[in-house]
Amino acid sequence: MATQQTRSIGRIAVAPSVLALFLWMIVPLAMTIWFSFLRYNLLDSNPACSLMTPAALLDEANRCLAGTTNYYYFLTDPAFFKAMRNSLLLVFWVLVISVAGGTLLALLLDQAIYGRNIVRLMVIAPFFVMPTVSALVWKNMMMHPVQGFLAWITKSMGLGAIDWFAHYPMTAIVIMVSWQWLPFATLIILTALQSFDEEQKEAAQMDGTPPFSFFWYMIVPHLARPVTVVILIETIFLLNVFAEIYVSGSGGRAGNLPFLVYQYGLISNDIGGASAGGIVAVVLANIVAFFLMRMIGKNLEG
Protein backbone atom coordinates (compact mmCIF):
# COMPACT_ATOMS: atom_id res chain seq x y z
CA MET A 1 0.00 0.00 0.00
CA ALA A 2 2.74 2.35 0.76
CA THR A 3 6.14 2.99 -0.64
CA GLN A 4 9.42 2.28 1.04
CA GLN A 5 9.78 5.96 1.69
CA THR A 6 6.50 6.34 3.55
CA ARG A 7 7.25 3.19 5.44
CA SER A 8 10.57 4.56 6.64
CA ILE A 9 8.86 7.76 7.70
CA GLY A 10 6.28 5.54 9.36
CA ARG A 11 8.97 3.84 11.36
CA ILE A 12 10.22 7.19 12.55
CA ALA A 13 6.67 8.15 13.41
CA VAL A 14 6.06 5.14 15.64
CA ALA A 15 9.49 5.30 17.23
CA PRO A 16 8.70 7.77 20.05
CA SER A 17 5.66 5.80 21.16
CA VAL A 18 7.40 2.48 20.98
CA LEU A 19 10.44 3.80 22.76
CA ALA A 20 8.39 5.43 25.50
CA LEU A 21 6.32 2.32 26.11
CA PHE A 22 9.36 0.10 25.94
CA LEU A 23 11.17 2.13 28.59
CA TRP A 24 8.00 2.31 30.65
CA MET A 25 7.69 -1.43 30.57
CA ILE A 26 11.31 -2.51 30.82
CA VAL A 27 13.18 -0.06 33.02
CA PRO A 28 11.00 -0.18 36.13
CA LEU A 29 10.55 -3.91 35.74
CA ALA A 30 14.30 -4.47 35.48
CA MET A 31 14.88 -2.29 38.50
CA THR A 32 12.21 -4.12 40.44
CA ILE A 33 13.85 -7.43 39.64
CA TRP A 34 17.20 -5.99 40.66
CA PHE A 35 15.90 -4.65 43.96
CA SER A 36 14.13 -7.87 44.72
CA PHE A 37 17.50 -9.53 45.16
CA LEU A 38 18.89 -6.83 47.45
CA ARG A 39 18.72 -6.36 51.13
CA TYR A 40 17.43 -2.86 50.73
CA ASN A 41 15.55 -1.02 53.41
CA LEU A 42 15.21 2.74 53.34
CA LEU A 43 15.50 2.76 57.13
CA ASP A 44 18.63 0.63 57.02
CA SER A 45 21.65 2.26 58.61
CA ASN A 46 23.91 0.92 55.89
CA PRO A 47 23.64 3.45 53.06
CA ALA A 48 25.73 1.47 50.60
CA CYS A 49 22.95 -1.00 50.18
CA SER A 50 20.63 1.65 48.89
CA LEU A 51 23.06 2.71 46.17
CA MET A 52 22.20 1.08 42.95
CA THR A 53 25.64 1.08 41.38
CA PRO A 54 27.09 -2.36 40.72
CA ALA A 55 30.47 -1.22 42.04
CA ALA A 56 29.11 -0.37 45.44
CA LEU A 57 27.27 -3.58 45.41
CA LEU A 58 30.32 -5.69 44.67
CA ASP A 59 32.18 -3.96 47.46
CA GLU A 60 29.64 -4.84 50.01
CA ALA A 61 28.45 -7.90 48.22
CA ASN A 62 27.93 -10.14 51.17
CA ARG A 63 25.99 -7.56 53.08
CA CYS A 64 23.76 -6.21 50.31
CA LEU A 65 22.93 -9.12 48.08
CA ALA A 66 20.01 -10.93 49.55
CA GLY A 67 19.72 -13.76 47.05
CA THR A 68 16.23 -15.15 47.19
CA THR A 69 15.68 -14.17 50.79
CA ASN A 70 13.16 -11.47 49.87
CA TYR A 71 11.13 -13.93 47.89
CA TYR A 72 11.36 -16.43 50.68
CA TYR A 73 10.07 -13.97 53.22
CA PHE A 74 7.42 -12.54 50.99
CA LEU A 75 6.07 -15.89 49.87
CA THR A 76 6.05 -17.34 53.36
CA ASP A 77 4.52 -14.26 54.94
CA PRO A 78 1.00 -15.30 55.98
CA ALA A 79 -0.10 -11.90 54.72
CA PHE A 80 0.90 -12.99 51.23
CA PHE A 81 -1.53 -15.88 51.17
CA LYS A 82 -4.29 -13.71 52.44
CA ALA A 83 -3.50 -11.01 49.89
CA MET A 84 -3.30 -13.53 47.09
CA ARG A 85 -6.61 -15.06 48.10
CA ASN A 86 -8.22 -11.66 48.37
CA SER A 87 -6.90 -10.67 44.94
CA LEU A 88 -8.33 -13.74 43.30
CA LEU A 89 -11.61 -13.63 45.19
CA LEU A 90 -12.09 -10.04 44.23
CA VAL A 91 -11.45 -10.70 40.55
CA PHE A 92 -13.62 -13.78 40.53
CA TRP A 93 -16.67 -12.40 42.27
CA VAL A 94 -16.66 -9.05 40.56
CA LEU A 95 -16.37 -10.80 37.20
CA VAL A 96 -19.24 -13.13 38.00
CA ILE A 97 -21.46 -10.35 39.26
CA SER A 98 -20.66 -7.82 36.57
CA VAL A 99 -20.79 -10.21 33.62
CA ALA A 100 -23.90 -12.08 34.68
CA GLY A 101 -25.63 -8.95 35.93
CA GLY A 102 -24.42 -6.92 32.97
CA THR A 103 -25.75 -9.45 30.47
CA LEU A 104 -29.16 -9.59 32.12
CA LEU A 105 -29.32 -5.86 32.46
CA ALA A 106 -28.25 -5.32 28.87
CA LEU A 107 -30.90 -7.74 27.65
CA LEU A 108 -33.45 -5.82 29.69
CA LEU A 109 -32.36 -2.43 28.41
CA ASP A 110 -32.43 -3.73 24.86
CA GLN A 111 -36.19 -4.20 25.16
CA ALA A 112 -38.60 -1.51 24.12
CA ILE A 113 -38.96 0.67 27.22
CA TYR A 114 -39.91 4.25 27.93
CA GLY A 115 -37.04 6.63 28.61
CA ARG A 116 -34.29 4.27 27.66
CA ASN A 117 -31.71 7.04 27.38
CA ILE A 118 -32.30 8.24 30.91
CA VAL A 119 -32.15 4.70 32.23
CA ARG A 120 -28.87 4.25 30.42
CA LEU A 121 -27.44 7.41 31.91
CA MET A 122 -28.35 6.30 35.41
CA VAL A 123 -26.90 2.85 34.90
CA ILE A 124 -23.59 4.10 33.54
CA ALA A 125 -22.99 6.74 36.18
CA PRO A 126 -21.06 4.61 38.71
CA PHE A 127 -18.36 3.91 36.16
CA PHE A 128 -17.40 7.57 36.11
CA VAL A 129 -17.15 7.89 39.86
CA MET A 130 -13.54 8.05 40.89
CA PRO A 131 -12.48 5.09 43.05
CA THR A 132 -11.62 7.23 46.06
CA VAL A 133 -15.08 8.78 46.04
CA SER A 134 -16.85 5.48 45.72
CA ALA A 135 -14.80 4.05 48.58
CA LEU A 136 -15.80 6.86 50.93
CA VAL A 137 -19.40 7.01 49.82
CA TRP A 138 -19.90 3.28 50.26
CA LYS A 139 -17.98 3.04 53.47
CA ASN A 140 -19.72 5.95 55.17
CA MET A 141 -22.99 6.83 53.65
CA MET A 142 -24.15 3.44 52.44
CA MET A 143 -22.56 0.87 54.73
CA HIS A 144 -21.99 2.72 57.99
CA PRO A 145 -23.34 0.52 60.79
CA VAL A 146 -25.18 3.36 62.55
CA GLN A 147 -26.08 6.08 60.11
CA GLY A 148 -25.57 4.26 56.80
CA PHE A 149 -28.43 3.96 54.40
CA LEU A 150 -28.26 0.18 54.27
CA ALA A 151 -28.29 0.00 58.06
CA TRP A 152 -31.49 2.04 58.06
CA ILE A 153 -33.06 -0.35 55.57
CA THR A 154 -32.05 -3.53 57.36
CA LYS A 155 -33.13 -2.06 60.68
CA SER A 156 -36.52 -1.01 59.33
CA MET A 157 -36.95 -4.57 58.15
CA GLY A 158 -36.11 -5.71 61.65
CA LEU A 159 -32.86 -7.38 60.70
CA GLY A 160 -30.55 -5.15 62.69
CA ALA A 161 -27.59 -3.26 61.32
CA ILE A 162 -24.64 -4.91 59.66
CA ASP A 163 -21.20 -3.44 60.12
CA TRP A 164 -20.04 -4.32 56.65
CA PHE A 165 -16.47 -3.10 56.72
CA ALA A 166 -15.83 -4.47 60.19
CA HIS A 167 -17.36 -7.92 59.77
CA TYR A 168 -17.47 -8.61 56.06
CA PRO A 169 -14.77 -6.38 54.59
CA MET A 170 -14.24 -8.59 51.56
CA THR A 171 -17.95 -8.68 50.77
CA ALA A 172 -18.11 -4.94 51.16
CA ILE A 173 -15.24 -4.42 48.75
CA VAL A 174 -16.75 -6.87 46.25
CA ILE A 175 -20.08 -5.05 46.36
CA MET A 176 -18.42 -1.70 45.92
CA VAL A 177 -16.17 -2.75 43.06
CA SER A 178 -18.99 -4.64 41.35
CA TRP A 179 -21.03 -1.48 41.53
CA GLN A 180 -18.28 0.28 39.61
CA TRP A 181 -17.85 -2.40 36.96
CA LEU A 182 -21.38 -3.60 36.38
CA PRO A 183 -22.12 -0.49 34.29
CA PHE A 184 -19.09 -1.13 32.13
CA ALA A 185 -20.15 -4.69 31.34
CA THR A 186 -23.71 -3.56 30.74
CA LEU A 187 -22.69 -0.77 28.41
CA ILE A 188 -20.47 -2.95 26.27
CA ILE A 189 -22.87 -5.86 26.04
CA LEU A 190 -25.73 -3.48 25.31
CA THR A 191 -23.74 -1.85 22.52
CA ALA A 192 -23.08 -5.27 21.05
CA LEU A 193 -26.74 -6.25 21.33
CA GLN A 194 -27.81 -3.10 19.58
CA SER A 195 -25.46 -3.81 16.72
CA PHE A 196 -27.28 -7.10 16.26
CA ASP A 197 -28.72 -6.96 12.82
CA GLU A 198 -32.40 -6.07 12.97
CA GLU A 199 -32.97 -8.00 9.75
CA GLN A 200 -31.52 -11.12 11.27
CA LYS A 201 -34.02 -10.82 14.10
CA GLU A 202 -36.84 -10.47 11.60
CA ALA A 203 -35.64 -13.36 9.49
CA ALA A 204 -35.64 -15.53 12.61
CA GLN A 205 -39.17 -14.40 13.40
CA MET A 206 -40.27 -15.21 9.87
CA ASP A 207 -38.78 -18.66 10.28
CA GLY A 208 -40.80 -19.03 13.46
CA THR A 209 -37.70 -19.57 15.62
CA PRO A 210 -38.85 -19.96 19.25
CA PRO A 211 -37.48 -17.22 21.52
CA PHE A 212 -35.27 -19.56 23.52
CA SER A 213 -33.62 -21.10 20.45
CA PHE A 214 -33.19 -17.64 19.03
CA PHE A 215 -31.44 -16.54 22.20
CA TRP A 216 -29.25 -19.62 22.34
CA TYR A 217 -28.27 -19.90 18.69
CA MET A 218 -28.20 -16.25 17.64
CA ILE A 219 -27.73 -13.95 20.62
CA VAL A 220 -25.31 -16.03 22.66
CA PRO A 221 -22.74 -16.50 19.89
CA HIS A 222 -23.05 -12.82 19.07
CA LEU A 223 -22.26 -11.91 22.67
CA ALA A 224 -19.26 -14.21 22.96
CA ARG A 225 -16.92 -11.56 21.69
CA PRO A 226 -18.00 -8.57 23.79
CA VAL A 227 -18.15 -10.77 26.88
CA THR A 228 -14.59 -11.98 26.37
CA VAL A 229 -13.50 -8.39 25.90
CA VAL A 230 -15.23 -7.43 29.12
CA ILE A 231 -13.58 -10.27 30.98
CA LEU A 232 -10.15 -9.34 29.66
CA ILE A 233 -10.39 -5.69 30.47
CA GLU A 234 -12.03 -6.11 33.84
CA THR A 235 -9.44 -8.65 34.86
CA ILE A 236 -6.63 -6.25 34.04
CA PHE A 237 -8.19 -3.54 36.15
CA LEU A 238 -9.45 -5.78 38.95
CA LEU A 239 -6.07 -7.36 39.59
CA ASN A 240 -4.85 -3.84 40.23
CA VAL A 241 -7.59 -2.52 42.50
CA PHE A 242 -5.91 -0.33 45.06
CA ALA A 243 -7.62 2.94 45.88
CA GLU A 244 -10.86 1.34 47.04
CA ILE A 245 -9.02 -0.72 49.63
CA TYR A 246 -6.58 1.97 50.62
CA VAL A 247 -9.12 4.72 51.10
CA SER A 248 -11.74 2.58 52.80
CA GLY A 249 -9.07 1.49 55.25
CA SER A 250 -9.82 -2.18 54.79
CA GLY A 251 -6.30 -3.14 53.76
CA GLY A 252 -5.76 -5.08 56.95
CA ARG A 253 -8.35 -7.75 56.25
CA ALA A 254 -9.32 -7.29 52.64
CA GLY A 255 -5.96 -6.15 51.32
CA ASN A 256 -4.94 -7.63 48.00
CA LEU A 257 -1.56 -8.09 46.39
CA PRO A 258 -1.08 -4.50 45.21
CA PHE A 259 -1.96 -3.28 48.67
CA LEU A 260 0.48 -5.65 50.31
CA VAL A 261 3.29 -4.47 48.02
CA TYR A 262 2.40 -0.89 48.83
CA GLN A 263 2.54 -1.77 52.52
CA TYR A 264 5.92 -3.46 52.27
CA GLY A 265 7.43 -0.62 50.27
CA LEU A 266 5.94 2.68 51.21
CA ILE A 267 4.89 1.86 54.77
CA SER A 268 7.59 -0.52 55.99
CA ASN A 269 10.22 0.87 53.64
CA ASP A 270 11.34 -2.64 52.79
CA ILE A 271 12.28 -2.03 49.17
CA GLY A 272 13.68 -5.50 48.61
CA GLY A 273 10.61 -7.23 49.97
CA ALA A 274 8.21 -4.95 48.12
CA SER A 275 10.08 -5.55 44.88
CA ALA A 276 9.85 -9.28 45.35
CA GLY A 277 6.11 -8.81 45.91
CA GLY A 278 5.88 -6.67 42.79
CA ILE A 279 7.51 -9.40 40.74
CA VAL A 280 5.10 -11.95 42.16
CA ALA A 281 2.25 -9.67 41.09
CA VAL A 282 3.75 -9.36 37.61
CA VAL A 283 4.05 -13.12 37.31
CA LEU A 284 0.47 -13.56 38.43
CA ALA A 285 -0.75 -10.95 35.94
CA ASN A 286 1.18 -12.65 33.19
CA ILE A 287 -0.28 -16.04 33.95
CA VAL A 288 -3.75 -14.57 33.85
CA ALA A 289 -2.95 -12.56 30.72
CA PHE A 290 -1.59 -15.64 29.00
CA PHE A 291 -4.81 -17.56 29.42
CA LEU A 292 -6.92 -14.55 28.62
CA MET A 293 -5.02 -13.69 25.47
CA ARG A 294 -5.36 -17.25 24.26
CA MET A 295 -9.04 -17.30 24.97
CA ILE A 296 -9.54 -13.90 23.46
CA GLY A 297 -7.22 -14.44 20.52
CA LYS A 298 -9.64 -17.12 19.34
CA ASN A 299 -12.58 -14.83 19.77
CA LEU A 300 -11.16 -11.67 18.30
CA GLU A 301 -9.72 -13.12 15.13
CA GLY A 302 -13.06 -13.79 13.47
Binding site: A2, V14, A20, L29, Y114, V123, I188
Partner: protein, 276 residues
Protein backbone atom coordinates in the same frame (compact mmCIF):
# COMPACT_ATOMS: atom_id res chain seq x y z
CA UNK B 1 -40.21 -2.45 11.17
CA UNK B 2 -39.79 -3.97 14.59
CA UNK B 3 -42.51 -6.21 15.86
CA UNK B 4 -45.26 -4.31 17.61
CA UNK B 5 -44.72 -4.72 21.33
CA UNK B 6 -47.73 -5.02 23.56
CA UNK B 7 -48.12 -2.04 25.86
CA UNK B 8 -48.35 -4.17 28.97
CA UNK B 9 -45.09 -5.84 28.24
CA UNK B 10 -43.49 -2.50 27.57
CA UNK B 11 -44.80 -1.05 30.82
CA UNK B 12 -43.54 -4.02 32.76
CA UNK B 13 -40.04 -3.77 31.32
CA UNK B 14 -40.05 -0.03 31.80
CA UNK B 15 -40.93 -0.34 35.47
CA UNK B 16 -38.35 -3.05 35.99
CA UNK B 17 -35.51 -1.23 34.29
CA UNK B 18 -36.29 2.10 35.95
CA UNK B 19 -36.22 0.39 39.33
CA UNK B 20 -32.89 -1.30 38.71
CA UNK B 21 -31.39 1.82 37.19
CA UNK B 22 -32.54 3.84 40.15
CA UNK B 23 -30.95 1.41 42.60
CA UNK B 24 -27.66 1.53 40.71
CA UNK B 25 -27.73 5.27 40.51
CA UNK B 26 -28.84 5.70 44.12
CA UNK B 27 -25.40 6.08 45.80
CA UNK B 28 -24.57 8.89 43.41
CA UNK B 29 -27.92 10.54 43.90
CA UNK B 30 -27.68 10.15 47.65
CA UNK B 31 -24.26 11.78 47.67
CA UNK B 32 -25.53 14.74 45.71
CA UNK B 33 -28.58 15.12 47.96
CA UNK B 34 -26.52 14.85 51.13
CA UNK B 35 -24.19 17.56 49.93
CA UNK B 36 -27.06 20.03 50.29
CA UNK B 37 -27.95 19.03 53.84
CA UNK B 38 -26.68 20.30 57.14
CA UNK B 39 -24.37 17.94 58.99
CA UNK B 40 -27.14 17.12 61.41
CA UNK B 41 -29.57 16.21 58.73
CA UNK B 42 -26.95 14.22 56.85
CA UNK B 43 -26.83 11.62 59.60
CA UNK B 44 -30.43 11.79 60.71
CA UNK B 45 -32.38 8.56 61.08
CA UNK B 46 -34.70 8.06 59.33
CA UNK B 47 -32.96 9.73 56.38
CA UNK B 48 -34.59 12.74 54.79
CA UNK B 49 -35.00 12.63 51.03
CA UNK B 50 -36.12 15.88 49.51
CA UNK B 51 -37.77 17.76 52.34
CA UNK B 52 -34.89 19.23 54.24
CA UNK B 53 -33.38 22.67 54.41
CA UNK B 54 -31.34 22.91 51.28
CA UNK B 55 -28.04 24.66 51.88
CA UNK B 56 -24.94 25.47 49.89
CA UNK B 57 -22.87 25.98 52.98
CA UNK B 58 -20.98 22.70 52.62
CA UNK B 59 -19.58 23.75 49.29
CA UNK B 60 -18.29 26.99 50.71
CA UNK B 61 -16.73 25.24 53.69
CA UNK B 62 -15.09 22.58 51.55
CA UNK B 63 -13.51 25.19 49.33
CA UNK B 64 -12.37 27.23 52.30
CA UNK B 65 -11.04 24.41 54.39
CA UNK B 66 -9.41 22.17 51.85
CA UNK B 67 -8.99 24.39 48.84
CA UNK B 68 -11.04 22.40 46.32
CA UNK B 69 -10.08 24.71 43.49
CA UNK B 70 -6.39 23.98 43.79
CA UNK B 71 -6.94 20.22 43.60
CA UNK B 72 -9.43 20.59 40.79
CA UNK B 73 -6.96 22.67 38.81
CA UNK B 74 -4.35 20.00 39.38
CA UNK B 75 -6.77 17.40 38.06
CA UNK B 76 -7.33 19.56 35.00
CA UNK B 77 -3.61 20.07 34.41
CA UNK B 78 -2.81 16.40 34.81
CA UNK B 79 -5.69 15.14 32.69
CA UNK B 80 -5.23 17.66 29.89
CA UNK B 81 -1.45 17.64 30.01
CA UNK B 82 -1.11 13.90 29.87
CA UNK B 83 -3.73 13.56 27.14
CA UNK B 84 -2.26 16.24 24.90
CA UNK B 85 1.27 14.98 25.36
CA UNK B 86 0.14 11.47 24.51
CA UNK B 87 -1.75 12.74 21.48
CA UNK B 88 1.38 14.42 20.19
CA UNK B 89 3.28 11.17 19.89
CA UNK B 90 0.27 8.92 19.30
CA UNK B 91 -1.06 10.63 16.17
CA UNK B 92 2.05 9.99 14.08
CA UNK B 93 2.26 6.45 15.44
CA UNK B 94 -1.37 5.68 14.65
CA UNK B 95 -1.00 7.27 11.22
CA UNK B 96 1.96 5.07 10.42
CA UNK B 97 0.27 1.91 11.62
CA UNK B 98 -2.97 2.65 9.80
CA UNK B 99 -1.60 3.92 6.50
CA UNK B 100 1.89 2.52 6.14
CA UNK B 101 1.61 -0.82 7.91
CA UNK B 102 4.53 -3.18 7.86
CA UNK B 103 4.60 -6.89 8.47
CA UNK B 104 4.84 -6.45 12.20
CA UNK B 105 2.29 -3.72 12.73
CA UNK B 106 -0.31 -6.11 14.15
CA UNK B 107 2.24 -7.54 16.59
CA UNK B 108 3.26 -4.05 17.60
CA UNK B 109 -0.32 -3.16 18.39
CA UNK B 110 -0.77 -6.30 20.45
CA UNK B 111 2.43 -5.56 22.28
CA UNK B 112 1.21 -2.07 23.10
CA UNK B 113 -1.97 -3.59 24.46
CA UNK B 114 0.07 -5.98 26.55
CA UNK B 115 1.87 -3.12 28.28
CA UNK B 116 -1.48 -2.36 29.88
CA UNK B 117 -1.37 -5.73 31.57
CA UNK B 118 1.72 -4.84 33.53
CA UNK B 119 0.55 -4.35 37.12
CA UNK B 120 1.51 -0.92 38.45
CA UNK B 121 2.88 -2.44 41.63
CA UNK B 122 5.59 -4.02 39.51
CA UNK B 123 6.86 -0.54 38.76
CA UNK B 124 5.84 1.27 41.91
CA UNK B 125 9.02 0.87 43.93
CA UNK B 126 11.60 1.93 41.34
CA UNK B 127 9.40 4.70 40.07
CA UNK B 128 8.91 5.98 43.55
CA UNK B 129 12.65 5.95 44.21
CA UNK B 130 13.58 7.46 40.87
CA UNK B 131 10.99 10.17 41.34
CA UNK B 132 12.29 10.79 44.84
CA UNK B 133 15.86 11.16 43.60
CA UNK B 134 14.90 13.32 40.64
CA UNK B 135 12.65 15.46 42.85
CA UNK B 136 9.67 14.51 40.72
CA UNK B 137 7.54 13.30 43.58
CA UNK B 138 4.48 15.48 43.89
CA UNK B 139 5.38 17.38 40.71
CA UNK B 140 3.07 18.02 37.79
CA UNK B 141 5.64 16.98 35.22
CA UNK B 142 6.27 13.63 36.82
CA UNK B 143 2.62 12.64 37.10
CA UNK B 144 1.83 13.93 33.63
CA UNK B 145 4.48 11.66 32.19
CA UNK B 146 3.23 8.67 34.15
CA UNK B 147 -0.39 9.23 33.17
CA UNK B 148 0.66 9.80 29.58
CA UNK B 149 2.47 6.47 29.45
CA UNK B 150 -0.38 4.76 31.21
CA UNK B 151 -2.92 5.83 28.62
CA UNK B 152 -0.72 5.89 25.54
CA UNK B 153 -1.67 2.37 24.39
CA UNK B 154 -5.37 3.17 24.62
CA UNK B 155 -4.89 6.43 22.75
CA UNK B 156 -2.92 4.79 19.99
CA UNK B 157 -5.44 1.97 19.65
CA UNK B 158 -8.37 4.33 19.53
CA UNK B 159 -6.78 6.60 16.97
CA UNK B 160 -5.72 3.60 14.97
CA UNK B 161 -9.25 2.27 14.72
CA UNK B 162 -10.54 5.72 13.74
CA UNK B 163 -7.81 6.26 11.16
CA UNK B 164 -8.50 2.85 9.66
CA UNK B 165 -11.91 4.14 8.64
CA UNK B 166 -10.44 6.97 6.58
CA UNK B 167 -9.85 5.97 2.95
CA UNK B 168 -6.15 5.88 2.20
CA UNK B 169 -6.79 7.34 -1.25
CA UNK B 170 -7.49 10.73 0.26
CA UNK B 171 -4.08 10.80 1.86
CA UNK B 172 -2.57 9.60 -1.39
CA UNK B 173 -4.35 12.40 -3.19
CA UNK B 174 -2.69 14.90 -0.88
CA UNK B 175 0.63 13.26 -1.54
CA UNK B 176 0.02 13.71 -5.27
CA UNK B 177 -0.89 17.32 -4.51
CA UNK B 178 2.60 17.81 -3.22
CA UNK B 179 1.97 17.68 0.52
CA UNK B 180 4.84 16.42 2.65
CA UNK B 181 4.02 13.77 5.25
CA UNK B 182 3.88 16.42 7.97
CA UNK B 183 1.47 18.57 6.00
CA UNK B 184 -0.56 15.52 5.10
CA UNK B 185 -0.98 14.86 8.82
CA UNK B 186 -1.80 18.43 9.76
CA UNK B 187 -3.98 19.55 6.86
CA UNK B 188 -5.67 16.36 5.75
CA UNK B 189 -5.64 13.57 8.30
CA UNK B 190 -6.10 15.55 11.51
CA UNK B 191 -9.07 17.63 10.33
CA UNK B 192 -10.76 14.54 8.91
CA UNK B 193 -10.21 12.68 12.13
CA UNK B 194 -11.48 15.45 14.37
CA UNK B 195 -14.42 13.42 15.71
CA UNK B 196 -12.19 10.47 16.45
CA UNK B 197 -9.50 12.59 18.04
CA UNK B 198 -12.11 14.39 20.12
CA UNK B 199 -13.51 11.11 21.42
CA UNK B 200 -10.03 9.91 22.22
CA UNK B 201 -9.27 13.07 24.14
CA UNK B 202 -12.55 12.83 26.01
CA UNK B 203 -12.06 9.24 27.09
CA UNK B 204 -8.53 9.86 28.19
CA UNK B 205 -9.43 12.88 30.21
CA UNK B 206 -11.91 10.66 32.02
CA UNK B 207 -9.38 7.93 32.63
CA UNK B 208 -6.68 10.34 33.75
CA UNK B 209 -9.08 12.22 36.00
CA UNK B 210 -10.06 9.06 37.84
CA UNK B 211 -6.64 7.43 37.90
CA UNK B 212 -6.00 6.65 41.52
CA UNK B 213 -3.03 4.41 41.91
CA UNK B 214 -0.23 6.66 40.79
CA UNK B 215 -1.90 9.86 41.88
CA UNK B 216 -2.29 8.47 45.37
CA UNK B 217 1.20 7.07 45.64
CA UNK B 218 3.24 9.75 43.89
CA UNK B 219 1.55 12.97 45.00
CA UNK B 220 0.99 14.51 48.38
CA UNK B 221 -0.07 18.11 48.03
CA UNK B 222 1.48 20.39 45.39
CA UNK B 223 0.48 18.29 42.39
CA UNK B 224 -2.26 16.34 44.13
CA UNK B 225 -5.46 16.01 42.09
CA UNK B 226 -8.99 15.37 43.30
CA UNK B 227 -8.41 11.68 43.96
CA UNK B 228 -5.98 12.69 46.69
CA UNK B 229 -8.28 15.50 47.84
CA UNK B 230 -11.04 12.99 48.48
CA UNK B 231 -8.70 10.50 50.08
CA UNK B 232 -7.83 13.18 52.63
CA UNK B 233 -11.44 12.98 53.77
CA UNK B 234 -10.99 9.40 54.87
CA UNK B 235 -9.43 10.27 58.22
CA UNK B 236 -12.02 9.53 60.91
CA UNK B 237 -11.80 12.88 62.64
CA UNK B 238 -12.41 14.74 59.38
CA UNK B 239 -15.62 12.92 58.76
CA UNK B 240 -18.46 15.22 58.14
CA UNK B 241 -20.79 13.60 55.69
CA UNK B 242 -22.36 16.63 54.21
CA UNK B 243 -18.96 18.08 53.50
CA UNK B 244 -17.64 14.79 52.26
CA UNK B 245 -20.63 14.66 49.91
CA UNK B 246 -20.05 18.17 48.68
CA UNK B 247 -16.41 17.37 48.03
CA UNK B 248 -17.34 14.13 46.27
CA UNK B 249 -19.97 15.81 44.17
CA UNK B 250 -17.50 18.40 43.03
CA UNK B 251 -14.92 15.73 42.28
CA UNK B 252 -17.16 13.58 40.12
CA UNK B 253 -19.52 16.09 38.52
CA UNK B 254 -17.29 17.25 35.66
CA UNK B 255 -16.39 13.74 34.66
CA UNK B 256 -19.92 12.47 35.02
CA UNK B 257 -21.05 15.09 32.53
CA UNK B 258 -18.19 14.37 30.13
CA UNK B 259 -18.73 10.66 30.53
CA UNK B 260 -22.38 10.84 29.67
CA UNK B 261 -21.43 12.57 26.46
CA UNK B 262 -18.71 10.07 25.71
CA UNK B 263 -20.64 6.82 26.26
CA UNK B 264 -20.27 5.50 22.74
CA UNK B 265 -16.62 6.37 22.44
CA UNK B 266 -16.01 4.87 25.83
CA UNK B 267 -17.07 1.47 24.61
CA UNK B 268 -14.82 1.67 21.63
CA UNK B 269 -11.86 3.04 23.53
CA UNK B 270 -11.97 0.68 26.45
CA UNK B 271 -12.41 -2.36 24.27
CA UNK B 272 -9.53 -1.32 22.03
CA UNK B 273 -11.88 -1.04 19.10
CA UNK B 274 -13.10 -4.60 19.50
CA UNK B 275 -16.67 -3.48 20.19
CA UNK B 276 -18.05 -0.48 18.34
Amino acid sequence: MARAVSTRRKLFFTALSWTIAFLIFFPVLWTVLTSFKTEGEAVSIPPTFLFFDWTLENYAVVQERSDYVKFAMNSVYLALGSTLLALLIAIPAAWAMAFAPGKRTKDLLMWMLSTKMMPPVGALIPLYLVFRDLKLLDSHVGIIIVLMLLNLPIIIWMLYTYFKEIPGEILEASRMDGASIGKELIYVLAPMAVPGIASTVLLNIILAWNESFWTLTLTTKDAAPLTQFIASYSSPEGLFWAKLSAASTMAIAPILVLGWFAQKQLVRGLTFGAVK
